[in-house]
Amino acid sequence: MMETIRSLGIWGLNTFERLGRGHLFLLHLLTGIPALFFRFSLVIQQLYSVGVLSVFLILISGLFVGMVLGLQGYNTLVDFGAEESLGVLVALSLVRELGPVVSALLFAGRAGSALTAEIGLMKSTEQLSGMEMMAIDPIRRVIAPRFLAGLISMPLLAAIFSAVGVFGGFLVGHGLLGVDDGAFWSQMQVKTDWFDDVFNGVIKSMVFGFVVTWIALFEGYDAIPTSEGVGRATTRTVVHSAFAILGLDFVLTALMFGDE
């Protein structure tokens, strides 16, 4: 009995300790950001591996998500004789929800796991300690550029996802199902607000980018420096990012659209 309570206590202490370490890590990381603006080439390299290499995945998924939305939305709307509203349905669901959320989930799987594995391996091969020996702060030199790159690329990827998705919805809606293209675009423009819908979606994706990159980098930095430890840290990155994205999405949606 006492053993069970004790193990629960150990678990709780460990969790809180990790949480605390995560926040100290974030604080340390953020202090390294301003210096990066004078050495932006570091960030550009990371923007390439984090952002550019994810573009293809985002393009393809966005196109297909938009096309599926077009098909499914049409089948439902046509029952009410409201197939002209297809554009509104596709645009609002992409810009408000699917764009930020799905691209963040893909980003966690594509770029987040890679970041964790990279940092974890750097740690296990003692590259990070090596830097410390040379009086280079690895958090500022290695981790901060990756963090900034994740922060910048996430909203851009989400915007690409939404734009391509709307285009995919239009392809299916107009090309395949014959919805009038004028009604498709004009109804969309009437119902989609720049600030309430598009900009709130951008804010969402910024928050997701922040959280996903933070989780990925911290898991890598905090990984047990063995091959098994790095493997587990990579898994945890994807799982925790998914939880964080979906949970935060609910909170943000309630804050942004809850009072309508």
Binding site: I44, V52, A91, A159, I160, S162, W185, Q189, V190, V198
Partner: protein, 156 residues
């Protein structure tokens, strides 16, 4: 060095593509383009019942959009709905005896305000009032009146 240059170019293209996507979302998908001619003049109209009219609902004239609903409030004296319309400044020749009615787009669509031009020589100015108004059609009331008139007809 060459490698570096290629990386920089692709990153530049990525950032440009992201910004272009945002631009498309702003211009093509959302209503940002309207803000440019949103600056207009305001006109007040009182309605007995506005039904499902909302702020930002369109105001049309002959089917062409000429403005949006800017504000809706209850007039404390007459218990009527006081609707402020924001009309585009390029449509500056609306006669003072214009009538406003609340219409519905389609059977179940959203409600909007339709303006019908009058014959006066004077035009509405900023802060002007539209006196001739027609309240929204509330479906329950219409059905009620229909049943009532039908019952009356049978009595004769």
């Amino acid at each position: 060095m060459m490698q570096d240059k290629n990386t920089e170019i692709t990153v530049g293209m990525f950032v440009a593509a992201g910004i272009a996507a945002l631009f498309v979302l702003a211009m093509k998908v959302s209503n940002l383009t309207e803000f440019t001619d949103e600056k207009g003049y305001q006109v007040i109209a009182e309605f007995e019942n506005i039904g499902g009219l909302k702020v930002r609902s369109p105001v049309t004239m002959a089917g062409v959009r000429v403005g949006r609903v800017a504000d809706i409030s209850l007039d404390p004296d007459s218990y009527n709905a006081k609707v402020t319309l924001n009309l585009y400044s390029k449509v500056d020749n609306i006669p003072t005896d214009t009538s406003a009615s609340i219409l519905t787009a389609g059977l179940l669509g959203e409600q909007y305000i339709g303006l019908e031009a009058g014959a006066e020589e004077e035009f509405l100015q900023d802060g002007g009032v539209i006196d001739l108004t027609q309240p929204a059609l509330v479906l329950e009331q219409v059905i009620g009146q229909f049943l009532f008139s039908k019952a009356e007809g049978e009595d004769k």
